[in-house]
Point group: D3
Chain length 160, copies 6
């Protein structure tokens, strides 16, 4: 198993040196789930009442958060990301909403963290907008789905 | 069931008016879990190798993120939080780390989102610092544990 | 005419001292207009095509920008604003959209700048989202409509 | 007329994918006007009293805001801008100040929004610094003057 | 000697709990020095050439940085500061500029860090604006001059 | 001696145009000192009591601040820095801690300011975390140690 790359020889945290890495197209997809009461999901999805706005606001929040990743995660490099998109998949049978983000860059390091931050922030925004009616919502299964580009190459989550 | 408070009568998003709410001591506790390979947990916990730094960095990240909550979550009010603390509880049996945050304020609105943002960002920071050795880590069970203060009073998560 | 309050006796910029001002409920309303081609307005308003989303995104951007006011305007105090709301009024006859914001606080200084920043940023967001089809859009009439609260009392724009 | 590029096929907002665009030199010029009482303009311009500082502060605010564009405008890409400059042209006959910004980059997407954000924020800063003596100031004619670089090529505002 | 207040019993960093502290008027003054070549000082002070702008820009930077203190210093509380002012005192005999800041608040905790951040950032801004002609500038003697308010009461630096 | 590059012909501040500069590997090293009472240094270094955490938190703060440089220093360009590392060297004989940072980039302009901001913020963080026991700490000798890359080439501080 490799060394943890964010620590130098003496275990001190640092921002990994990517100066010598190649600029390539890199892509990452992350996903997560927010579970809630069936009534809450109904209120979110019922366009008559809330006009689908919870998910619109969550999407904007997720996209904006992806851009703040290096401001939130201490050892992340600031990156000129070239694309972010987010999908929301309501699953009535499980009374949850599945959130997926895709982030792209032409850069020296990957965008896994940007994709994960987008998913987490979108989920937290859904929590915030619905907490008056359902404080028991739970965010789960936040993970990297796949990544491509860069020296370490392709990654695909196993059970997905 | 109440109306979603972040939407006005026509379903348009707004930042809820808390001008008339009372200033009281409000407290929120949130928690979450990040699961990983046993080897990854071992590397984090093994002070010989990494000197416990992953959790130190994650703690700082969580505390700093709590202060950015209103910058991340669109409808959150900017708040002068008066306290943040974070606990990390490694659970070898489950090969995961449990993260808990507590946030306090004397203000007109609660700090649930601040506590949840702290937990999520700490978990994401652990992911970032260890992703070179374990891309399959998963963040789960991010939820509000309890809150107190304010008109809506005490909340305690059920299955906790 | 009073002295410019952001300058001290020698004309040096400073952040005005509001330590001795009273905490009162303060409110400000600002408005502005973004003019565009009739086709552009049609595309924004046509829910079949764009689902009203341009205005949803602009609203979120305006609310979030209000919270960043003291980060943008050098001499503005950081403030715990308690309410922001935004209205969009499409005026087909004039081929423009009128934007209005209302901001409230219980604090030591007013929220005029927060209301103006919200309107400006919402207008700029509309420009950004539609510039692929209409680079000639123009933002105008950005002004304070009224304010209340504080020592200087009520203000109401004349020609409004 | 083209599709609004910030929306995907189903009208959902996204950050446009510019991964395949070429890196070229791109430039944008924007302008705007802030109108005020003649006395206010006199106070700003009279170096004996305020030493030209209102415009100095506004210039710094505009330059700093250009760098925050992707943090303010939800669908804007984070960009390593290579140049910002601002000009202020007081027009006594019209009792207003004309503000102009120029922004440059070598990148995959244009800097129109950066130029517009710089002008708007400079105008808002002038408002903030003078509002103690003139709450009736109005910001108008905020628009893109010209842009160059990129696939869509040259743009020049018509009536300018 | 007291315990380091930013660490709990087990030495873990936390944001100190100030929920039970009283709201009082608190004030802090900090200062620092930036030393440079006599020619550099001459260029800064010579209004014919640079119109005093280096110090104007540094002043704006210092004031804006004071507002970002809780975003920079991990364990600082976010605070609604009510006043910031900055003074620059060029000392030709020592070929340096002395920088002083004063910050005020009515709050539960002091503003020492805000005053120190303002001084440091103003000094760094002077460095940045003059580094093309003098890379050897040195920032020194950054310290708290005095503070008042709060339980710990008055503090006055000894050798000042 | 050269002109101050942040001012145009009439002495107005601007962000220097680096559009035509070459992308090269650029590196900067900065350092600084924070002096304190021997007891304070002892408390920081005594792992039994504080587990080395003051320096861990200061390191994270310094790295995160380097990424905020263009947000703090008005005329700095936003940069995709590729590496930051920080070293702390406690000097018991002088009762101080020496702080050193190294920043790297492949870009059109240097990273001197990023290195200086990292050092300053780490020093301020040490002050913040220890100020309960030692308000008299002083930050000194903050300077550029060396830089390489770019047209102006190598720089090495003389008395170091």
């Amino acid at each position: 198993m490799d060394r943890l790359t964010h620590f130098d020889e003496k275990g001190r945290p640092k921002m990994v040196d990517v100066s010598e890495k190649k600029i390539t197209l890199r892509e990452a997809v992350a996903s997560g789930i927010i579970s809630m009461k069936p009534e809450t999901l109904g209120m979110i999805m019922n366009k008559q009442i809330v006009k689908g706005n919870v998910l619109e606001v969550a999407k904007v929040a997720g996209i904006m958060a992806a851009k703040k990743t290096s401001d939130l995660i201490p050892m992340c490099h600031p990156l000129e990301i070239t694309h972010v998109e987010m999908l929301f998949n309501p699953r009535e049978a499980d009374s949850c909403i599945e959130i997926e983000s895709k982030v792209k860059i032409r850069g020296r390091t990957g965008v896994e963290m940007e994709a994960l931050v987008a998913v987490s922030t979108a989920a937290l925004t859904i929590y915030d907008m619905c907490k008056a009616v359902d404080k028991g919502m739970v965010i789960s299964q936040v993970k990297l789905v796949r990544k491509s580009g860069g020296r370490s190459g392709e990654y695909q989550a196993k059970r997905f």
